[in-house]
Symmetry: C2
Subunit: 444 residues, 2 copies
C-alpha cells in the first residue's frame, strides 16, 4: 500500500495546513520547514503521503518501534474485553505495577498511574510539597518538565524561552551543569563538585530566607536542555545536599526511561542515585497516553491525607495492558541491550564526524539518546542554532528524521525507536557527513 | 465466556486487595464496601469475576457503551497504521477538529487536544490567565475541576473536602447555586438573580482590592457538587457580569458534554450561554485518554506568545480516530435523543419514588445525568450521607451500579452509558424502590 500517493490521506498538504491554521491552536508547532505529512509508521520508519520512507531517529515515544504488533495486539484484546477505572478491582493494574516496581530499587514501590508525563510531574510536585510543607524548588536551567501551570513555573526551558516570564520567587534556578559550555567545564568530579556547590548555595539562600527546601527535580540526562550529561558525581552530591536539607529529590524519566540509556533501565541508575520520587511517561505506552509516578511508602502515606486521588483514565486496564506489552517487548527483544550496542556504535561514528567537521563542537549521550552540538567557532563556542536547524531539515530531505533543540537550538538530537540498527546508524552518520560537507556548515 | 469463575482473572479479590495495598498509592479509592472485581464490559453492563452481570448506571466515561465495537475498530485500524504527534501533518486531527467545531457555536473554533479533563482545565486556566493578565478566579462551592496543582486550587470540592487546606487568596468561592438546599431556594429567576448577585459581589471585592478579574469557571450542571441544576438565568447573568468585568468564562463540559443532557449536545446550551473557553474530557474517547480545549481565535492568538504548546500524546492519530468514532456513534445511534427519551422516563420514575419515600428530598437532572438527594428530615434538610452510601451499596448488591456524591455525599448519582434503555430505567427504579423500603431508610 505504501508508495501509492495519498492512499491513506484524502487531504493535500496545503489543505491540511489551511485547516490546521483555522482549527488548531497556533501554539502548536510543526517540525521542519517543509512539514512532513505522515501516513504510516512501522518499526523505525515513518512513511509520508507520497510513499516516501523516512528513517525515524527522533521519535523516542515510539519506543519499541512504530505500530509494534505485540503492543497493538494487547491494546485490541483488552479494549474488546474491559476498559474501566481504578475504583474497581482488576488484575491488570496490580500485575503491571508489580512489574514496574521490579525494575526499580527497593523502596520505590508505590505507583500512581496518570495519562502524560506532565500529569506525572505535576502529581510529583503535589506529593513533594505535601511531604515537605514547602514549595521551594531547585531546578536546573534549560530543564523542561511539562505543560501544566505548575510545571511551566519550574521549567526554565519555558520560563526563559520565548513567551516566558521568568522564574517565580519560590523557584531557584541552578546554571545548567553542562560540561561542554557551562559555567564550569569538564566532566570530571571537580566540575561536578562545583555545580553541586551551586545547589548548596541555593539551599543556603532558601534557609537564610527562613524557608524550608521543598524539592529538587532533574532528569538524569537533560533532554530539552540538549542531551546534557552531568559531570561526575554532580547528581550524587546534589541529592545528598537536598536530602540533608529535608528536601525531596524527583527524577524525571519521561524522556530517557525504559532502557534507552543502554547500560541501565532507568536514567538515574547511570548517575548512581536513588530518587524519592520517579516520574515516567513518553515511551511507556509506545504512543498511548500512559504515565506514572512511583514513590516511597512514607511519601505516599503522607499524601494520603484524606483527599482522594482519582484519575478518570489513569490506570485503566487498556492503558495498563499496553504498558505491560511495552515492558515485555523491551525484554523479549533485548532493546536495552540493543540501545547500548547500537548507541555505542553510533556515538563512535559521530565522534569520527566531529574530527572531520569543525562545526561539530561536541558529541555526547548514552545508549540511543545522543546529541551533536554545533558551534560557529572553537574559542567562544558560539551556538550554531540556525545551522543545526538547517542540518535537521537537510537530513529530513535525505529521508532521516532528527531534531534540533537545547536553549540555543544548536544541538542535533538523536533518540530513535530502540529497534534502530547498526545499518541505520551508518546511514544516519553517512548522511550527516554529506550534509555537513555543504558550504553552509563551514566555520571560521 | 461470562459465567465461568475467574475466566479473565488469575487473582482472587483478596490477593488483588493485598497487591493494591502494597503497590498502589493509598489515595486511590475503591467503590463499594465490598469492592467490585470487574472482568468484562459490554454496552451498559459490567461483569464481575464470578460472571455476575451489573447494570452500569454510573460510568459516564463509557459514553456509547462499554467496549463499543465501532470505537474499538477505529482504535485498532489506526493503531495498526500510524500513531505519532501533532508536529507532523495528518488528516485525522483536522477532520476531527472540524467535526468537533461543528457541534459548537460559531466563534468557538480553535482546538487544543490533551489527554484528560484535568489537562484541559489546566490549559484553560493558563489561557485565561494569559489573556486577562490575572489569576483572580471565581468558582462555585462544591465544584471539582481536576487534579493538577493549579486545579486543586480552584476546586472547592477538594479545598474544603478531606485533606483540603482552603482557598488561596486569588480564588473567590461563591455559595453553591443549589435550588434545593442552597443559600437561596427555588429554581426561579429570583433565586438566579440572587446567586448572580454574589458573583457581582465577588467581582466588586476583587476590583476594590485593585485587581482585575481573570476568570469564572463552572460546569453547566454541577457533577461532583451533586447534579446541581442552577436556578433560572443564574449562569446567563453571571456570564454577563464576568464579561463586563473583563474576565473570561470557562465552561467545564468534562462530565456532561457530548449529548448527555438530551436536549442539547453541550451542557452550556441548556443554560443559554456562550463560554469563552470550553473544556471536554471523560466521555470523549469512551475511556481512551483524550480531551480538548476549544476557544476563540483572539484568546488562542494571545496565548500564541512565542511559547510552543506541545503535548506528547494529545492530538495523536489514534486518539483522534477514537474521538471521531465516538462522535459518529453518538449521531448514528441517536444517543442524545436516547438520553432525552430514557432520561425523561427515568426522571418520572424517580419522581414517583420521591412521593413514596420520605428520605428522598429532591430528584433532579437532565437527560441521563440525574440525582436523587437523600435527607433525614424535611425541615432542616439534614443530609443523609450514610444512607446514600448504604443505598449505593445495596443497589450494587442488587446488580445495579450507581454512586453517591456531593459535598455531603448524600446524592445518589445516575449517569449511565447513553445506550441505557427504558427497561434498564424501570429495573433501576424498581430496585431502588425495594432498597428504600428497608428500615434503614425510614425517616422522622
Amino acid at each position: 500500500m505504501i508508495g501509492q500517493k495519498n492512499y491513506y490521506s484524502m487531504l493535500t498538504d496545503k489543505r491540511i495546513l489551511e485547516l490546521r491554521k483555522r482549527l488548531l491552536g497556533p501554539s502548536f508547532s510543526l517540525s521542519y520547514r517543509e512539514p512532513l505529512h505522515t501516513v504510516q509508521g512501522k518499526g523505525q520508519y515513518l512513511f509520508d503521503a507520497n510513499g516516501k520512507r523516512y528513517l525515524d531517529a527522533v521519535n523516542n515515544i515510539s519506543h519499541v518501534g512504530h505500530c509494534h504488533p505485540k503492543v497493538i495486539s494487547a491494546e485490541e484484546k483488552q479494549a474488546r474485553t474491559l476498559n474501566t477505572n481504578t475504583r474497581y478491582l482488576n488484575d491488570i493494574i496490580v500485575n503491571y505495577a508489580q512489574q514496574l516496581n521490579d525494575t526499580l530499587p527497593e523502596g520505590l514501590d508505590v505507583c500512581y498511574f496518570t495519562n502524560s508525563g506532565s500529569e506525572s510531574n505535576d502529581l510529583a510536585l503535589r506529593m513533594a510539597r505535601n511531604f515537605t510543607g514547602s514549595r521551594e524548588s531547585i531546578v536546573l536551567n534549560g530543564a523542561y518538565h511539562g505543560q501544566t501551570s505548575a510545571l511551566i513555573e519550574i521549567s526554565p526551558y519555558k520560563l526563559y524561552g520565548p513567551g516566558g516570564t521568568g522564574a517565580p520567587e519560590f523557584v531557584s534556578v541552578i546554571p545548567m551543569p553542562d560540561p561542554y559550555r557551562g559555567k564550569f567545564r569538564g566532566s570530571d568530579q571537580k566540575a561536578g563538585s562545583q555545580y553541586a556547590g551551586l545547589v548548596l548555595d541555593a539551599i543556603a539562600k532558601i534557609q537564610d530566607d527562613g524557608k524550608q527546601l521543598g524539592l529538587f527535580i532533574a532528569e538524569a540526562i537533560m533532554g530539552s536542555g540538549g542531551q546534557i550529561i552531568y559531570p561526575e558525581s554532580f547528581l550524587q552530591q546534589a541529592f545528598e545536599m537536598v536530602k540533608k536539607a529535608g528536601g525531596l529529590c524527583i527524577i524525571d524519566e519521561v524522556q530517557i526511561g525504559f532502557g534507552r540509556t543502554g547500560t541501565h533501565f532507568w536514567g538515574f541508575e547511570t548517575c548512581d542515585v536513588t530518587p524519592d520520587i520517579v516520574t515516567m511517561g513518553k515511551p511507556m505506552g509506545n504512543g498511548h497516553p500512559i504515565s506514572a509516578v512511583i514513590t516511597r511508602r512514607d511519601i505516599a502515606d503522607a499524601f494520603d491525607n484524606g483527599m482522594e486521588y482519582f484519575n478518570s483514565f489513569g490506570g485503566n486496564p487498556v492503558s495498563c495492558s499496553i504498558g505491560q506489552a511495552v515492558l515485555d517487548v523491551v525484554r523479549e527483544e533485548h532493546l536495552q541491550e540493543n540501545a547500548l550496542m547500537v548507541g555505542t556504535y553510533l556515538l563512535e561514528l559521530l565522534e569520527e564526524l566531529k574530527n572531520k567537521h569543525a562545526i561539530i563542537g561536541d558529541v555526547r549521550g548514552k545508549g540511543l539518546f545522543l546529541g551533536v552540538e554545533l558551534i560557529k567557532d572553537h574559542d567562544e563556542l558560539i551556538p550554531a542554532g540556525n545551522e543545526a536547524d538547517l542540518a535537521a531539515n537537510l537530513m529530513k530531505d535525505n529521508n532521516i528524521l532528527i531534531s534540533n533543540d537545547g536553549p540555543d537550538q544548536n544541538v542535533l538530537k538523536i533518540k530513535p525507536p530502540l529497534v534502530f540498527t547498526k545499518d541505520n546508524s551508518l546511514e544516519l552518520a553517512e548522511t550527516l557527513d554529506r550534509v555537513l560537507d555543504q558550504d553552509n556548515f563551514k566555520i571560521g
